[in-house]
């Protein structure tokens, strides 16, 4: 399968280079400019994206992509496609532009504002969040990003009883992995001497993280001493809040699959094989703490997704249902952001992009047919275009 894919890729690449070679003498400069304007924007900084860019693709530099999404944050199928296309492009879509515009205008001295993105499966919630993450990176936010809560609640690497809190469960390996992700995403900010730990953290008799130590030390400790990783994440969340309140940094919290933090049936089991409620997982505490409104200089964007919960309960994609009573009360008042299917313009632009990448062969009436077949659902459109 993999081999087939790679040979296919080579053939495509050779074909594309051949056609480009053959076409070059005939094409003229203005024509390319015009083509660029329709579905691709040269504005590659999300700081400047406005409503005018909706439906257009922009390119992310590979090093940025590596910093943001090395340890997750993009769907696997999309990752494969970016590899095939030899570039990572995001479409500028309304929900992301909306949130970015809000983030620009928010008064950061006021309590943190929470956005909840919702929408049907495959509508591009995660990719919209990726776009916003890029914006947060560009505008020097401290990024607290959880690529997929479902990884913790539904297929965690290992679980152990918490030493400090009676009845709580630690997911230490996952916590340490997340700390690496955090460190990687904020590599450029963590060197800031302003970011200090506000209080002593005593891990055991010998190991402590003293007050005024740099935040990196706390993160490093969690990565090196996996046994304490979960506690470290909770402490880190609290420290980040304190730093933000003190005005030392602006924080952007992004959690994908947030509703898994409230879904009672996890796949985590205690030693007696009892199902653990998410509220009994130490990591939950940290991210619930960060999505409260009792701090400022922060914004939280969370995604509620049907896939994050058990298959039998995937009834509705709306936020109140997915969050449940408890979750709704926790997030309230939040700003719901709908991520809808492609508009005709977006679909056209997406197909143009695929055609430009030589991913699909142009055929008359192709766009209309694919619109109906995919019901404008971005993920389904991608699947339909794979064999074309």
């Amino acid at each position: 399968m993999l081999k087939m894919r790679s040979t296919d890729l080579i053939i495509r690449r050779v074909f594309s280079s051949l056609t480009s070679l053959r076409l070059q003498p005939f094409s003229t400069q203005p024509a390319i400019q015009e083509r660029l304007e329709t579905f691709r924007t040269t504005e590659n900084s999300p700081l400047n994206h406005t409503e005018d860019h909706i439906g257009q693709f922009y390119r992310i530099p590979p090093e940025t992509k590596k910093q943001l999404f090395l340890y997750g944050g993009l769907a696997k199928s999309y990752e494969i496609q970016t590899k095939t296309f030899t570039e990572t492009c995001f479409m500028v879509r309304k929900p992301a532009v909306d949130i970015i515009y809000c983030m620009k205008t928010i008064d950061y001295s006021k309590p943190a504002i929470r956005f909840v993105m919702y929408g049907k499966k495959g509508n591009g919630k995660t990719l919209s969040l990726a776009h916003i993450l890029h914006y947060a990176l560009e505008s020097k936010f401290l990024i607290v990003h959880v690529p997929w809560v479902g990884n913790w609640m539904r297929r965690c690497k290992e679980s152990s009883n918490s030493e400090v809190k009676e009845g709580f469960i630690d997911l230490n390996i996952d916590a340490a992995a997340w700390l690496i992700h955090f460190k990687n995403q904020n590599a450029h900010l963590l060197g800031d001497p302003e970011l200090k730990v506000a209080e002593d953290h005593v891990w055991n008799k010998r190991e402590t993280t003293p007050k005024d130590a740099p935040l990196t030390e706390l993160v490093e400790f969690g990565i090196n001493r996996i046994k304490y990783a979960s506690r470290c994440v909770v402490a880190l969340a609290e420290e980040i809040k304190k730093l933000s309140k003190a005005g030392k940094c602006k924080t952007f919290v992004a959690v994908d699959g947030f509703n898994a933090l409230f879904y009672p049936q996890t796949n985590i089991l205690t030693e007696k094989k009892q199902v653990v409620h998410p509220s009994k997982v130490t990591l939950t505490e940290a991210f619930l703490n960060l999505t409260k409104f009792d701090w400022n200089n922060g914004v939280a964007v969370v995604i509620v997704d049907e896939i994050a919960i058990g298959e039998k309960d995937q009834i509705s994609h709306l936020p109140r249902y997915l969050l449940g009573k408890e979750g709704f009360e926790h997030m309230d008042p939040f700003v719901p952001i709908l991520v809808s299917e492609y508009t005709p313009k977006e679909l056209k632009s997406c197909m143009d992009y695929y055609r430009e990448r030589k991913w699909v062969q142009p055929l008359p009436g192709q766009d209309e047919e694919l619109t109906f077949l995919s019901a404008s659902n971005p993920y389904r459109l991608m699947l339909l275009c794979n064999p074309l």
């Binding site: 409104f293 709306l318 309230d332």
Partner: protein
């Protein structure tokens, strides 16, 4: 063996018959007639049908007074009804005609209640009627003056007993809006009556059938109505223990949502601008169920309250 006995019996019991034949045909050789077949078969008597008059309907004039031909309720009679009626089903062909058709006799008919007959009977009854009370011309006026509707049924048929047990059942209907209740009392009233209240028509229906007589059932229904009314106005000590989970609807004023926005803004909800639209949208979201529309409305209200661009 069996044939021998039969032969023997015949000779025993029919000796005179054989003898007579012998006398009549003395010239011929005697024949032993074992089968006793008669030379001439006896003619059977034909059943004579009595003479029947042709159906009466053949002689009916077109302008006859139908009311006197068919004066009372009666089961169908094909000769009296001058209509070519067919009723029933056969696999092939038309439905059977009216003669000798049990299907037509089984079903009740209203041939005695034709419009002119009804008119005539009403005319005759008119002199026993009193005028319709003034002020009750329309249904809505009747409802205004007589909010409680009591219904019971009389049964009339020919059986050894003229009493029907179903006649005891009394149905009392009243609109809930006509009963003076406050918010608490209404809530309690609805919990007490349960499914006897129809929300779409705002109608409370009490059916009583536990007593043997209609009068008793009626009294019991009235007692129930009175007891319900007074009981729902009474506030018991344990009613203060009602928590959010016991609420029959989402009340924003006692909700966690109100608490959270009050802590968020650090002031009472009455002082927060746009908090009223927000509270309405939360109420709608919770009570009317979640839909794309209610979530959008909620989002708009939140944006307004938090002063975010729409």
């Amino acid at each position: 063996m069996a044939t021998v006995t039969r032969l023997y019996r015949q000779q025993i019991f029919r000796p005179s018959y054989i003898l007579s034949r012998h006398l009549a045909e003395d010239t011929e050789f005697r024949v032993l007639n074992l089968k006793t077949t008669r030379s001439q078969p006896v003619q059977r008597k034909k059943l004579k049908k009595p003479d029947v008059l042709p159906p009466r309907s053949y002689q009916m004039p077109v302008d006859q007074d139908w009311g006197s031909v068919w004066p009372g309720p009666r089961s169908f009679h094909p000769a009296t009804v001058p209509l070519p009626i067919r009723q029933g089903y056969v696999d092939k062909g038309a439905p059977p005609g009216k003669y000798g058709n049990a299907e037509l006799m089984k079903i009740p008919n209203f041939l005695h209640l034709t419009p002119p007959v009804i008119k005539r009977q009403c005319e005759a009854l008119k002199r026993f009627c009193t005028p319709w009370p003034r002020g009750l011309e329309t249904d809505s006026k009747c409802e205004d003056h007589f909010p409680v509707e009591v219904a019971s049924s009389n049964y009339c048929y020919s059986s050894p007993s003229i009493r029907d047990p179903m006649a005891r059942i009394v149905t009392v209907k009243v609109k809930l809006s006509r009963i003076p209740l406050d918010e608490h009392a209404k809530d309690k009233f609805l919990r007490l009556v349960g499914d006897r209240y129809n929300e779409s028509t705002d109608m409370l229906t009490i059916v009583t059938d536990r007593c043997p007589l209609r009068k008793q059932n009626y009294d019991y229904a009235m007692y129930l109505l009175t007891a319900l009314f007074h009981e729902s106005w009474r506030v018991e000590a344990w009613e203060k223990l009602k928590s959010e989970a016991d609420m029959e609807y989402y009340d924003w004023k006692v909700s966690a949502s109100k608490k959270s926005i009050e802590t968020l803004f650090g002031k009472e909800h009455t002082d927060i601008t746009h908090a009223d639209t927000y509270s309405q949208t939360v109420d709608a979201l919770m009570n009317e169920g979640e839909s794309e529309y209610s979530v959008t409305k909620y989002g708009e209200a939140v944006r307004q309250m938090l002063q975010l661009p729409q």
